[in-house]
Symmetry: C2
Subunit: 365 residues, 2 copies
DNA sequence: TCCCTGTACTTATAGGCATTAATAGATCAT
DNA sequence: ATGATCTATTAATGCCTATAAGTACAGGGA
């Protein structure tokens, strides 16, 4: 709170004194509820505000039950991570742009620990803001559920579900995007595909992608056996996975994480296997841990910026009661043509199921 | 504000009612100032708190305390820029960490336009926070001066001066760091150096670097003529600059912007000139516009994270009146040994001044 | 008995704002 | 002139907590 040049704090009472009106009148002007006021009164108050640079104290405002045009941003991990990972950056970009254009400021909550908590001692500091945007790869859903139960307005960025609790969220349509990539590969003549993911995939977004993959496969009358799902436990397994794929006549890979695709590319280079001439590889948008790439990967991109903007818009719409809560919004992913997929090399007579991989490549579902 | 499950809000007054004491007594227990209380009273209050799950409302708490534990962050350009430039990122990292550990949250001000304004309609939203951190390559110093005039507590990240106005800022010691790099080159036997910068350099930080360069040169009894300053108008000029340098027997370059150094590296590669065997190149910390590099540049790094942390600490110290305002802090840059400088190839007999470059390479000062 | 000194609390207030009920003043009809 | 009806503004209240100031009571000394 700024001290005014003359010592005392800058409050509505002070403005009122300067303008020769009551504190209540200042409050009316500040909040635009000044229809009833004389132009003269309004102007005197405005002039005093202008001259002093007065701004309402958000704390007092919240306490008094008002709104403060502050949007909370809670991330379940550090916003600005040490390792230079850009995960949050594009989201924040969209959030900032949209908040800016709608006249809201951002309140970024800091909190210690790797896993950040909303509730500390049973209370949430989010209350400082009118509503909040929640981001994070590893949210504590118990905390989110509690927040929802309390009726606090928030929008999650990313598809999140709580059983028996409807949530507001803005999600990329991974299912649709993955289905589109899968169909594209089928169009190119591929009949033996595999879906690869690290560490059993990334929660709900991962599950959505797999759903799209299987959906497209079923539509093309490819059964589960012909469209396997391989869990890879680390990028160092890339070589072995590639071997398995080639051994079993797989001609196209859908890879959830780009970092895994990069490892595959290295493995391909080592064996003189060409992408896409020998094998097509599509990347499904997850760029965790990647900084730059030699390859122009085909697949799709997650519209992070748009998601951030849409979530911000949605939250503000809810706060200003233009949209009922909860509300879900879906954003299409940006398809990337790229150069890592191509027509199948030697189309096989369809129908032969893909055999089990040799080693610890488990097939899920 | 969290609602009590049973409908009414859970306040100290409510706890007091349950425990049969006054609200003030509850406050005393909550804040551990209960030395004067009977064990019995204390226990009754504690039991009531326990049973209801009451926790003090942080908002009312700060209102009563007069501070809101909010630190404003104002950037004179977009915080999250479109082009993926990480300029602000490391600063924010340090700010976030320090704010977190000192119990402050961050209020990021959004505002439209490329050049962001502190004052909109004659008022400053910074007042929302207890104090603010200011960042930016192109600050509007008139606005900063106005802020200082109003007595608003702020700390600038980066060396900034306003004539006749003392400011608080945390700056990297470019002068010292550049002097150190220069001395290192002199130790390696170089006697013909040049300082290269794009677009007439980067304001105050640029001026500080040049000062360090010239300081070290003078100490080594090299006059201005032997230590020229070349302004380069664009990276596409790198080839020509390199030609000039080689023609004139210059063996070491101090390059303000890494992006210019990258262009020089490309030019060297094109002419089969080796860095550092044929020419030494030191980079003076400015990484604007660079994403990754093939070269392990010698020179120094700007301690952005430390600067952010130090500025945050300084601001909080000022707010909590442990340090008087204004206050200036200097942070040493991290020297980088790197592999782009080496001993001079063919030491010349010293003393010969560097001739003027042929073309539009102007020598400043 | 009266005063004094603690002790164990309570009362009152501030902190800055939003909001509602109340009031003074002006206008109008009767 | 009197009340009725508006209109512009203010006084009062609540939000929840921390804290300074105050009070009631007990015990001890003179």
């Amino acid at each position: 709170m700024t001290a005014n040049p003359r010592g005392g704090r800058l409050t509505q009472a002070e403005i009122a004194r300067i303008a020769g009106v009551s504190q209540a009148t200042v409050s009316l002007v500040v909040n635009g509820r000044d229809e009833a006021l004389t132009d003269d009164t309004r102007e005197r108050v405005r002039a005093a505000i202008e001259r002093t640079g007065y701004v309402a104290n958000p704390i007092a405002r919240v306490l008094a039950g008002g709104r403060n045009k502050l949007l909370g941003v809670h991330t379940f991990e550090k916003v600005f991570p040490l390792n230079g990972d850009d995960f949050y950056f594009p989201f924040l970009l969209g959030i900032e742009e949209e908040a800016e254009s709608l006249g809201y400021d951002l309140l970024m909550f800091t909190s210690s620990g790797e896993q950040r908590r909303i509730f500390v001692d049973g209370r949430s500091r989010l209350n400082l803001a009118d509503g909040a945007l929640l981001l994070g790869r590893t949210p504590d859903m118990a905390e989110v559920a509690e927040l929802a139960r309390l009726g606090y307005p928030f929008v999650f960025i990313g598809h999140r579900e709580i059983p028996g609790q409807a949530l507001s969220y803005v999600a990329a349509d991974y299912t649709d995007a993955t289905a589109a990539v899968t169909r594209r590969l089928l169009e190119l003549g591929h009949r033996r595909l595999a879906y690869l993911r690290l560490d059993a995939g990334g929660g709900q977004p991962g599950a959505d992608r797999v759903a799209g993959y299987q959906l497209a496969a079923r539509s093309a009358r490819l059964g589960p056996a012909a469209t396997p799902l391989w869990d890879v436990s680390g990028v160092d397994e890339a070589g072995a996975v590639l071997g398995d794929a080639l051994d079993h006549g797989i001609t196209a890979l859908l890879v959830e994480q780009q970092i895994l695709a990069e490892a595959l590319a290295a493995a391909c280079a080592a064996r003189s296997v060409s992408i896409p001439a020998d094998i097509s590889v599509a990347v499904l948008g997850d760029t965790i841990g990647v900084r730059g790439s030699e390859t122009d990967w085909s697949g799709f991109q997650v519209p992070k910026r748009e998601m951030g903007a849409a979530a911000t818009r949605l939250l503000i719409d809810q706060l200003e009661e233009r949209v009922s809560r909860p509300h879900v919004e879906s954003i299409a992913c940006r398809p990337v043509e790229g150069s890592s997929i191509g027509p199948v090399k030697t189309p096989l007579a369809g129908g032969a199921a893909v055999p089990e991989p040799r080693r610890n490549r488990s097939i899920t579902e």
